[in-house]
Symmetry: D2
């Protein structure tokens, strides 16, 4: 089956967004990239701090409420429809719920060719990159580095600890059908 969607799953500051942009540069067709930030930015400002929406604690832990889940479900449905309508899409995600998160995407994309990619990065290195970015709550990288991969099944994995985003993108692109 033709790869219609590439799902990149990894913790904060693991390098997913950089890989997504490099994939757009190296893949011959034009691909769209959407991330969980796209969804969060689309939500009302009030939901970014409310218990119904998304909350980021001082230690970088992220909690998500029922109103968030409802909108997210519709969002995932929409991305699947875009793929069925012919767009090729890179999804840049953080599976905070591990296999339960993957299952949400899996169900919506069941009739679409998906390449599941785990983006790993050593926890200490990711935390250092978080410091270097300076725009994320300190602690997110460390708290998510292992958590988001537990119980998740991939077609392939890349590791940005010692490999540049562009090189990771080339390895992934070679697997796109």
């Amino acid at each position: 089956m033709t790869t219609q969607v590439i799902v990149l799953n990894g913790g904060s500051s693991s390098g997913k967004s950089g890989i997504a942009r490099c994939l757009q540069a190296v893949l011959p067709d034009p691909w769209l990239t959407f991330g969980c930030d796209t969804l969060v930015d689309a939500m009302p400002a009030a939901m970014r701090t409310a218990s119904e929406g998304i909350e980021i604690a001082d230690d970088g832990k992220v909690a998500v409420g029922p109103a968030f889940r409802t909108l997210e479900a519709a969002w995932i449905e929409g991305i699947a429809s875009m793929a069925r309508a012919g767009a090729r899409i890179i999804v840049d995600e953080v599976f905070l719920g591990g296999p339960a998160s993957q299952e949400r995407w899996h169900k919506a994309l069941k009739d679409v060719g998906v390449l599941w990619v785990g983006v790993r990065c050593d926890s200490t290195v990711a935390a250092g990159r978080e410091t270097a970015r300076g725009d994320r709550a300190a602690g997110m990288a460390a708290s998510q580095a292992e958590l988001v991969h537990q119980g998740v099944l991939y077609d392939m994995e890349v590791d940005t600890t010692h490999t540049e985003s562009l090189e990771c993108a080339r390895v992934i692109a070679a697997r796109v059908g």
Copy 2:
């Protein structure tokens, strides 16, 4: 029919984004907001200057190529699916093609309750706000102010020339079913 989608159409710097954020604040349910910027940001960097994608000339005129149209069609399909899946959505758009642009959204949203809103702003005032923002190509506001409304049909119109975004949002919210 319940209003599931609010489409705001207006030229650059007419105040659509501000109205969208105010709508999110005054409407009782959580609404998502997506704009043409969301789609453009999702595209490969190369398409933002390529003749296949989107080009912004020195005078602020915007031209769009066939690859852009293909991805846009899938994007519109996806937004319609999100609405059918239960999300309430504000679309912040610039109908550069007038009625042809509206028809694209109209077809995709035919089984969904839509409130079509024209966002007008005096051309000179919009150009001044473009200068005050400082982040847009000079000339976009003036070239789009009238153009985007020609031949487009609305349920209602607001005019930001002398009315604040929040006030416009309240008038629109009162019409949401």
Copy 3:
């Protein structure tokens, strides 16, 4: 004395930044614009939430610590030096301390031609624009609208409640010596 520095003082969402960018567009010479955001962005990430630095409470109230004051004093010294070295500079400020804040700038700029401009905006209107921007802590606009002008002396005042940024900029530009 030639006007070397224009100090715009007003509350959050009063329209200072928009006026500053319009001033840069209408004034014949090139002017630099620096705001309190320039200084805050230059500080370590940790100072933006620490009691030594700057803290923004949930109601939008801003508190500033001793380490912030030390760096701010050097910053003001530096801006004054740039002006003495020949640059023409627009300072976009929020005098949270009223006359004490003004005195800090006044001392540093005593041998430089300064145009002191109060930027007023009705508190309710500023709060609405804060909602429309969607990127500031809710409540800042209302809490600062009156506070920042108490006891401050101006050469002129503008009011953005019913007047566009560009028009305010033209009125200010006419007073630049």
Copy 4:
């Protein structure tokens, strides 16, 4: 002499900004960080494309005009004054003019303790990171990688090709007097 200013010089996408933020995190005192972007952002919008100001060509080459030089000279004077007034400052720079660029800073900072740091990155790796960032004109990284170091004298050099920003920052911090 106490180190009052750290000057980081390197090409676009060499990792200077990340090192600067990490330095702010690891150094015990609060340091301010200013980059050439701070100055460019402070300039009128018109100067960012005008022949008097700064021009970025399609291949990423950067050209700078006489009006830019005048404002830059005042800016450098101001940074030096901030340091003499007691602020500790990290300057994140691109010496497009090589030794002539360094001489401008050297003259202004002659009575201040400066640590001159070269930030190197393999040209191909920097170009890949430019693609991963997706927000810079393609070609800047490659065209600047070697150019900005020619004839420039350093107290120390770091290389981000195989070393993380945080690790580079720790090595630099150990040399701060």
